[in-house]
């Protein structure tokens, strides 16, 4: 039996077997319970009867006290004649016959009361009666009893009713439980079926939801979110392999062509130049490769341990300073608006590289050489509610809203960038760094131009410093350099 069969066997058979097992327990259990109820009712009613008989005996005692044995005998006689359920028997030592409507000898009955069988009495059948007997002073015995068959029937009826009710309730519970487990099973089976078909390669499948808000609906919703992520990753993987084929093969082909061309040429100078250009191409390939590996590692979350407290404002200001001369050479100016921020737990190198990529991107796409005033590149750092935002805004051509999602994917170079140098991995690295820090990369419209926002979600504050609104608006004029 393979694993799948085993699991489906347990999924579908176990609750049914459990139901039969529970049913087989339910019958004796409700019988015991019903017997207990019946017995108790009988006991209580008998005790009541005995109490009533005691009152009766009290009456006879007072008759005896008033008029002696003859008065007692008369009272018994008169009571016997009017009562059908209560039985009386007076045995006198001085007379051979018994007085009363009960015949027979019931010597076991004593003063404390006893349930006894009337079978050997003149009265028919095996009826039961509860009775008490007292000794009459001066020679005699008075027995007062009452038939308790009606009471016993009532107790039996209650017992049966109890048995039926308990059994019915139990069975109902079992049926409900079984139905619930069937539903559970069918939901689980449904999810299992979906996951199996996904394992089979159909990544578009989703677990059906009933939007009831129950646990399974939650589970399905979470599973679907996970599946969407997996589909994304698979899509990214496919896209990456397609793009690797293109973006790595192209320089590899160029490299090969150059080596071949140099070989065909006989002059040492051409050899030298060919080799130099081969190295150049190789360096470009290495750069692309390193960026790819870094992104892959970031997405695997493998560099989490290297987070350390860092002053993000200083980091960004340093990077602006690093890129300022490059921007100035391209006739651009960088204006920074850096608010004081709490120190955050970040990976300084990675965030540094991400911000460097953002600056590099802004410089690359600002229309610096067109003769018109391109407008400044604006860099800002601000502390939001939950995250710290580093934004770099340029006045370049921007990215159309439809293309923004695509722009952060690996290797995607929108048409505008095909002609410019770069690995095409810059923004996807920024996105990966953002994700590693629990944040996100946002591309916004700078009207005109592009505003890239690196939101770092996790920077845990390591000091009590908090940026106020006033501080955020402080323009760091020292970093503003005129053209």
């Amino acid at each position: 039996m393979n694993k799948e069969l085993v699991s489906s066997f347990y999924l579908h058979r176990m609750p049914l077997r459990a139901a039969f097992f529970a049913l087989s327990l339910l019958i004796p259990a409700s019988a015991i319970f019903a017997a207990f109820i019946g017995g108790e009712v009988n006991r209580i009613l008998t005790a009541h009867t005995v109490d009533a008989l005691r009152t009766e005996v009290g009456f006879f005692k007072s008759e005896f006290d008033r008029g002696g044995i003859d008065a007692l005998s008369a009272a018994v006689q008169s009571r016997s004649s009017i009562s059908a359920f209560t039985l009386y028997q007076l045995t006198r030592l001085d007379q051979p016959t018994q007085v009363g409507n009960l015949k027979g000898r019931f010597d076991d009955v004593g003063e404390s009361g006893l349930v006894f069988d009337l079978s050997d009495a003149a009265l028919k059948g095996s009826e039961k009666a509860a009775g008490i007997a007292i000794v009459v002073p001066g020679g005699g015995r008075l027995l007062v009893a009452r038939k308790i068959d009606t009471q016993r029937q009532f107790a039996d009826y209650l017992r049966n009713l109890t048995f039926f009710c308990v059994f019915a309730l139990g069975a109902l519970a079992l049926v409900i439980g079984w139905l619930a487990s069937q539903r559970l099973n069918s939901r689980v089976a449904e999810i299992a079926l979906t996951t199996r078909s996904i394992m089979g390669g159909d990544f578009t499948r989703r677990v059906a939801r009933d939007h009831s808000g129950d646990e399974f609906d939650h589970l399905a919703s979470n599973l679907n979110a996970m599946l969407a992520r997996i589909e994304d990753l698979m899509g990214a993987l496919r896209e990456v392999s397609d793009n690797i084929a293109h973006d790595l093969k192209t320089p590899l082909t160029r490299l090969r062509n150059r080596a071949e061309a140099a070989l065909r040429d006989d002059s040492p100078a051409a050899h030298r130049e060919g080799l130099e250009r081969v190295i150049e191409e190789a360096d470009g390939l290495i750069q692309t490769f390193n960026a790819l590996l870094l992104i892959a590692r970031l997405e695997a979350g493998a560099v989490d341990a290297t987070l350390a407290p860092c002053d993000i404002s200083t980091l960004v200001a340093d990077l602006v300073e690093l890129y300022q001369p490059v921007a100035n050479d391209a006739n651009l100016q960088i204006i920074s608006r850096i608010g004081s921020t709490p120190r955050g737990e970040i990976n300084r190198q990675l965030v540094g590289q991400a911000v460097a990529n953002m600056l590099d991107n802004a410089i690359k796409y600002s229309p610096g050489d067109s003769g018109m005033d391109p407008g400044p590149i604006e860099v800002s750092v601000s502390q939001g509610d939950k995250c710290l935002e580093i934004a770099v805004a340029d006045r370049g051509p921007g990215i159309a809203p439809d293309d923004r999602d695509r722009a952060t994917k690996r290797f995607v170079r929108l048409e505008r960038s095909r002609s410019r140098p770069g690995t095409g991995l810059g923004l996807s690295l920024v996105a990966a760094v953002a994700r590693l820090h629990g944040g996100e990369l946002r591309l916004e419209d700078n009207e005109p131009g592009l505003r890239i926002v690196l939101a770092l979600g996790r920077p845990r504050t390591t000091s009590n410093q908090k940026a106020t609104v006033g501080e955020l608006d402080r323009v760091d004029s020292s970093a503003t350099v005129a053209r």
């Binding site: 390193n290 590996l293 870094l294 590692r297 493998a302 560099v303 290297t306 300073e321 990675l350 460097a356």
Partner: protein, 226 residues
């Protein structure tokens, strides 16, 4: 300098030994961690070039063992693992510098030469002098031919680093690492722009340039007659 290359790939090791010898250094090779450790103990080398993944004993353990024995020979770690935490691990084990494969030989040579001269007590030197260029580390003043030159803080650190290694080729990545403390690839020519700004401040108007570009490698500060 006497250098020891501990690298298990024969071709790489041969290439390095040959190229290092051509650059005027003595170089030996060891093919595994144990041989490398034994040679490093006895050989009196100036710098060790250690591959991170080695048969018998990996590079980091080798360096840790040497450091545990009190040997302070500078070590350059070569590794295919290039992410930030790998680097941190490498330096924590006692390595002095970390270079990710694949690398340019000029980068390796520049770093090895910088490591080899590190044994000179640098912290006690308060002034660097190259030709008529003087940098005072205490007063943060720079002058050339008696004429004071005003540098921004970063430019000062850039010049300080170049002058500390006067006569040695310093690569762009070395500058990015030591002057800015970044270990990533800036993609554009940011360092070149900073160096050319520095150059315009210290060389402009003087007949002899001191800050030279070494093609395909980096920069060097050197008085021409040296």
């Amino acid at each position: 300098m006497r250098l020891l290359v501990i690298e298990d790939d024969r071709e790489t090791a041969q290439f390095l030994v040959k190229a290092l010898k051509e650059s005027g250094h003595g170089a030996d090779a060891a093919a595994d961690g144990d041989t490398g450790l034994a040679m490093a103990r006895d050989g009196n080398y100036d710098v060790l070039i250690v591959d991170r993944m080695l048969p018998k004993r990996d590079g980091l353990t080798l360096i840790e063992t040497l450091r545990g024995e009190g040997a302070r020979t500078p070590a350059l770690i070569l590794s295919a693992l290039g992410s930030v935490d790998d680097r941190v691990k490498g330096l924590r084990s006692g390595g002095d510098d970390y270079l990710t494969k694949p690398y340019a030989f000029s980068e390796l040579l520049a770093r090895v030469e910088a490591l080899g001269r590190r044994s000179e007590p640098e912290a006690t030197t308060t002034r660097y002098i190259v030709g008529d260029l003087v940098l005072d580390r205490l007063s943060h003043k720079v002058s050339r031919g008696g004429e004071s030159i005003l540098l921004q803080a970063r430019e000062f650190r850039l010049l300080e680093y170049l002058m500390r290694h006067a006569g040695q080729v310093i690569t762009r990545t070395m500058l990015l690492e030591h002057v800015w403390d970044y270990h990533f690839d800036p993609q554009t020519n940011v360092i070149d722009v900073h160096v050319s700004r520095l150059r315009s401040k210290i060389d402009k108007g003087f007949p002899k340039p001191l800050l030279h570009t070494v093609r395909g490698a980096g920069y060097v500060v050197r008085a021409d007659d040296e």
